[in-house]
Symmetry: C2
Subunit: 236 residues, 2 copies
């Protein structure tokens, strides 16, 4: 009987992991495609990204509900309890990553027709490539319960924040040079901000992996390198 | 014995409610103060807002942990289970509202020295007043388990999105009129976006209240009136 309970619990956990893995795959694809839609002005691709967000929302609800039911039914303790809590947290972060990618896709649709210097868009893509690497690594770290890999992601977020700050400055400079740049540069500012926030969610997931494996919480306030709020533009 | 269990469970719930009520009070004050700091260029007030976010983070962790422990220990069913799940969701939304208010306070510090036309700042304040009313109402609706009040908040979010879109257009116009406006208008754009996102979190809380009372989930996709992504500027 005890074994039966254990194996039901294991089935519950496997089910949670499977759903989160599917969510991770969708979120990665949404990020890649939203940036591709922005760079190549591919409107149908942007529409696809927007459409796939719905599946992510449904999966997140399912993970949340079944994790809670698992806790109520099986009364897990220690690491088992942490695993269900972590599933809730990770699915929430992945769902929000999807929301942010969807928002980039919407902006890709909005600026589709406007002239955009390729140089700036390339900066956004570079930032997105970095964040995508973080996202893949942290999802692997979660799947493998690899806290060293998670800590590595956690520490690398500073590079993304620094890149965001420099992109932010560059965009402001373009806006000041020519008022015709303002409209699409504003969209790109929000896209860059969204990518930076996706980076923040990858560090949240890294913190969850650390908690899952060790039972300890990483410091709440991570040192941030985002200086964009204080950014002033050269020559101003 | 059964009575003992019931009353322990009630104590757990009361404790969750008390913590969430404290969180709501802190978040409301952070929003009010961050906007006041922006409008009056009150730097010490902005610093206060930033400092109070730490308390909110701690409370959110406490709510999450004790809600989960309550579920594991007491195995609540139906409405009792919904109450603990709702506590987790609401505390997460309130914590994020605090983050957004903190970000506004940081921007208030950053643009403190720069010239800012009072007219635009007034628009941001007006939007914030609307959202603050929503936040107060939805926290009341949660405390009173009043689903009619929650639905009212849920439906009123459209007005905030519409206001955000018009403010967004106005800010773009100012930026195009004079490049010297670009730097602080960009900060105000992000402030307005943060306020709009606080509005989104109040509708999330409204959805949670509805779920708590009825056991049913409101439609995942609420009709949005945020047209700012498509906004083009008159005369462009």
């Amino acid at each position: 009987m005890a074994e039966h309970i254990v194996s039901s619990y294991d089935t519950d956990l496997q089910d949670l992991r499977r759903r989160i893995s599917e969510m991770g795959g969708i979120a990665e694809k949404m990020l890649v495609d939203s940036i591709a839609a922005l760079v190549r002005r591919d409107m149908p691709l942007a529409q696809n990204v927007i459409a796939s967000d719905m599946r992510l929302d449904v999966l997140q609800r399912e993970v949340e509900e079944s994790a809670i039911l698992t806790i109520a039914r099986r009364q897990p303790l220690a690491v088992d309890l942490r695993e269900t809590i972590s599933a809730i947290r990770v699915s929430s972060d992945v769902e929000r990553i999807g929301d942010l990618a969807k928002n980039i896709a919407k902006r890709a649709l909005a600026i589709g027709g406007q002239f955009q210097p390729q140089k700036i868009v390339v900066g956004v893509q570079h930032m997105s490539d970095l964040v995508l690497g973080q996202l893949k690594d942290v999802l692997d770290a979660y799947a493998q319960q690899d806290t060293a890999k998670a800590l590595d992601v956690w520490q690398r977020d500073g590079a993304i924040d620094a890149l965001y700050t420099s992109l932010f400055r560059e965009l402001l400079t373009y806006m000041m040079e020519d008022p015709r740049n303002i409209s699409f540069c504003t969209h790109l500012l929000f896209c860059a901000k969204n990518i930076e926030r996706i980076g923040d969610h990858t560090t949240n997931i890294a913190e969850t992996v650390h908690y899952l494996v060790t039972g300890e919480t990483l410091a709440i306030d991570r040192p941030k390198n985002d200086r964009s709020i204080d950014a002033t533009v050269a020559g101003e």
